[in-house]
């Protein structure tokens, strides 16, 4: 049976279940679906694979944290340099922290690598294997935004390409926004790894005991990801406010000052 292609976003469906194949031309758009405040759908097709992901943007709108038109690509240019630097370095700090924790469990003969949702141990592995898996995953997560950003964008003639070429936000803003979404997800998953490693370390001291911190880790991942994205949007809105205030002090004939990133935009005159 052939997979049917939808007209809206190019995601194919099999028996109603979305199936996404990231290609060089559509990866950025699919990553951004995970934070799309203007889209009211809570569940969106996965960036890669079968099934759905959470649209954190829609959840944040429903919680009243942001507005539906606070889309990241339109705000990206106004993210303050300090926030930008923090976002670039945080996943590497997370990776270093995970490596330090991994060192603690590497010497143990038996370490929990999978937990029940109730916090009870489910699966064990050798300390070295558990440490290598935890540290390796965390480093890979930190490197992911860099790897994705280096994938060259192909032409958009493929049948499942998305209509992103006419977006008023520049391609650079859109790509950087996708990097931010990836970074937020990396930080969320790293927090899960850290909580799991801490739970494993405690279980080594008190074998076969319930470790609630492992259950907390499951909740920590989406909370950290959402917090990073919402905080970035808020910082960018502050950047817009600052730019508007400084432009109100300049003569009316002069344009609004360049945003923090001063990125090259093809459509600058169409924006602020």
């Amino acid at each position: 049976m052939r997979l049917r292609s939808t007209t809206e976003d190019g995601t194919r469906r099999f028996l109603g279940i979305p199936v996404s194949f990231p290609t060089r031309s559509n990866t950025t758009g699919k990553i951004l679906r995970c934070f799309e405040p203007e889209n009211p759908a809570i569940f969106v097709p996965r960036t890669a694979g079968i099934g759905w992901d959470l649209n954190i943007g829609a959840i944040a709108v429903k919680l009243g944290l942001i507005r539906p038109d606070d889309s990241l690509p339109d705000l990206e240019a106004y993210i303050p340099p300090t926030t930008r630097r923090a976002l670039a370095s945080a996943p590497w700090i997370g990776a270093a922290s995970t490596c330090l924790y991994a060192r603690n469990i590497a010497r143990a003969r038996r370490v929990v690598t999978k937990w029940h949702i109730t916090g009870l141990p489910k699966r064990y592995s050798s300390g070295k294997a558990a440490a290598a898996l935890s540290a390796g995953t965390s480093i890979a997560l930190a490197a992911l935004p860099i790897v994705i950003s280096r994938i060259p964008t192909g032409n958009t003639s493929e049948s499942e390409s998305e209509p992103t070429s006419t977006q008023p936000a520049s391609a650079l803003d859109t790509a950087r926004s996708a990097d931010i979404v990836l970074t937020a997800h990396a930080l969320g998953l790293q927090s899960l790894l850290l909580f799991s490693a801490e739970a494993a370390r405690r279980e080594i001291k008190h074998p076969h005991t319930r470790q609630l911190i492992a259950s907390i880790g499951l909740l920590a991942a989406p909370i950290v990801t959402s917090a990073v994205l919402v905080a970035t949007v808020k910082q960018a809105l502050n950047g817009v406010s600052r730019a508007l205030k400084s432009s109100s002090h300049t003569p009316a004939s002069q344009p609004m000052p360049a945003p923090a990133s001063a990125s090259t935009k093809e459509d600058d005159n169409e924006r602020i």
Binding site: P68, D69, S241, E270
Partner: protein, 108 residues
Amino acid sequence: MAESQLRKGALELIILGLLATRPSYGGELLERLKTETHLDISQGTVYPLLSRLHKAGTVHTRWEESPSGPPRKIYELRHHGHERLTALTHEWLHLHKAVTQSVKGIQL
């Protein structure tokens, strides 16, 4: 269901018409839909449409300070938006004529 689909189909024309008379931010546009057109359209319908129009280059956005809260994103028609509005208006008038002609004998 059918009524809803009919309204959704006409919503792009209505929004382009409202933005042609005055650029507005999302919340203001929802309010104008209620007061000026007497249509109760949810934000879950309006914002995806605004996003689609933005991505298609029909409208562009600029930021404006708000007396309360964060800056507002103002939606404004671009040249292509005015062209699209003219084309949709012609289509709508043609459709209106056809529908009026076909239902004129129906007793309500």
